[in-house]
């Protein structure tokens, strides 16, 4: 995990050096509701809520919006049965989106571009457990609106839909023991497209710019994704996040 974080931060720092526009370092804290159905292990839907936190980096300009962020999430999930035992969930998400200005209409600026997303989800209890990982490329549409140049509020909405993914899921049988040397034999690596991998990610929020150049952003984010081959899994997340944006350039 440390290695992954280091790589992501390095990427962010490299990009920050390239950009010449307004640049912000971001720290976020929020609350997220998580629902999952991992059909191979259980016919039941597990759900729960927990705290999500993260950090990121964004570059804002007239023509280009770049955004990197890494989020962690942890919660105890339960199914709806009376004897349900806690199912611990730990998740990590990273996304790098880059969108370009298309046009403006009635004060609304429209952008389109691409996003790279990384998603890890680990779930487990004493008796059952599972995981999913996916690296996906998504098309992103974004719109921003400011009532007037002097208004401190900027409102934004983004929608992204992945068109290609590489995912990893445990194969049909036990994840434990299946080792030869140090290589796990039972992990399946899948190159996927819609509908075997499908997702939708909606973000709606408002940013309030302070006089000193820093800002606060208030976001709602709803996500759904599914990985169908081998062990079908469907995940729905939904939550709010407050982000402090520190102007660094």
């Amino acid at each position: 995990m440390k290695t992954i974080l280091s790589v992501l931060l390095t990427i962010s720092i490299v990009y920050s050096g390239i950009a010449q526009q307004s640049e912000f370092l971001e720290f976020s804290l929020g609350w997220k509701n998580y629902q999952v159905r991992d059909e191979y292990q259980s016919p039941l839907r597990y759900r729960g809520s927990g705290v999500a936190g993260g950090m990121g980096f964004s570059v804002l300009s007239q023509d280009l919006l770049k955004h990197f962020d890494a989020d962690f999430f942890s919660a105890n999930l339960k199914n709806g049965q009376k004897t349900s035992s806690p199912y611990e969930m730990n998740g990590f998400q990273y996304q790098h989106s880059q969108v370009y200005h298309l046009y403006e209409q009635s004060g609304v600026n429209y952008f389109a571009g691409i996003a790279l997303k990384v998603n890890f989800g680990f779930r487990g209890s004493n008796s059952i457990g599972g995981f999913d990982t996916a690296f996906s490329l998504a098309l992103v549409g974004r719109a921003t609106y400011k009532e007037s140049p002097n208004n401190p509020w900027m409102h934004q909405a983004a929608l992204s839909i992945p068109f290609f993914a590489w995912a990893t899921r445990p194969m049909y049988t036990a994840p434990a023991y299946v080792k030869k040397g140090n290589r796990f034999k039972n992990i399946s690596h899948l190159f996927l497209t819609i509908p075997n991998y499908f997702g939708i990610d909606i973000q709606i929020g408002s940013t309030y710019f302070l006089n000193n150049g820093n800002a606060f952003r208030f976001d709602y984010r709803g996500q759904y994704y599914q990985i169908l081959p081998i062990r079908p899994i469907r995940v729905l997340t939904n939550g709010f996040k407050t982000t402090a944006l520190m102007k660094v350039n």
């Binding site: 009376k82 759904y224 729905l236 939904n238």
Partner: protein, 336 residues
Amino acid sequence: MKIAIKTTWILGISFLFFSSCGRLILGADPEPTPMIVFDDLAYNIETRYSLFKDKGVDWQAITTEYREKINPDMGDDSLFQVLNAMLGELKDGHVNLSYIKDRGRNWSWKLDYPENFNYSIVERNYLGRNHRITQSFENTIIDSIGYIYYGSFSKTIKKKALNAMMDYMKDTKGLIIDIRNNGGGKLNNCGLLASYFTDTINDCMEFLYKSGPGPDDFDGPFAYEIKPSDTLNYTKPVVVLMNRSSFSGATFFPAMMSTFPNVTLMGDTSGGGGGIPFSFELPNGWVYRCSVSITTDCSGRNIEFGVLPDIKVDLDPKDEAKGIDTMIERALAELR
């Protein structure tokens, strides 16, 4: 200001929409009626269990018989009894059904056989008051012969601890590894411990993994390889003591050790448990597990039914009454 109010509304509506449509998007849970629970278990065992052919079990006939015992008004306790009895037909120690009151099992693989173990005798008359407890290994040296009692493979072995114990044992004439009443645990522990008793690379077992719902959907075979320990290789004579309660990991371990020329397996046939278990959940939240693999030893024999000893020895009740462990005595005699 108007746009801020609008945005707040949109956020609120989006949140409520997504929160409430979890059931719609992810699908509703199945109704946990006795018949739906039964059918879920019956189907998933049929498609996931790996040892039907080896055990000659006609699962269709079994499920037909037990389905007649299901009625819509039966309570949890009655349903548990029927499902547990059905799973018991598999005669597999790695098949269990658990709910809040009980963990169902069929332990005929050990209870139908002599116990062949009395820990009190081992502790008082062989390990003694001052024996070492190195992690999970209780060990001592008896007349220049090392004796290790290892009661569970569950706790991850620390290599430093194992090195320390093997260093203590390195000058002995021979070694007894007693895994009687060891109910198993982590396969990695078996491989790690075995790696100290060979100086060559060995393919000691092969695994086949259930890879799909069909009866012949298996992946493999995958060889399980043991590399010699890089710390110490004990190639002097070793006796592994086992009984019918040496189950799962304690069946994998003698299967691995049997490939080494310096090792003798002694006692009773091990309890088996060669199918690696995996756990699942039923529509009512109960958890069950079943074997999802097949393991064969280097001679191609399925170790689900246990590993055979090279020398068959039982605990003699007359010796036991005198505080003598017949099996340890036989092992000591073999190594002297």
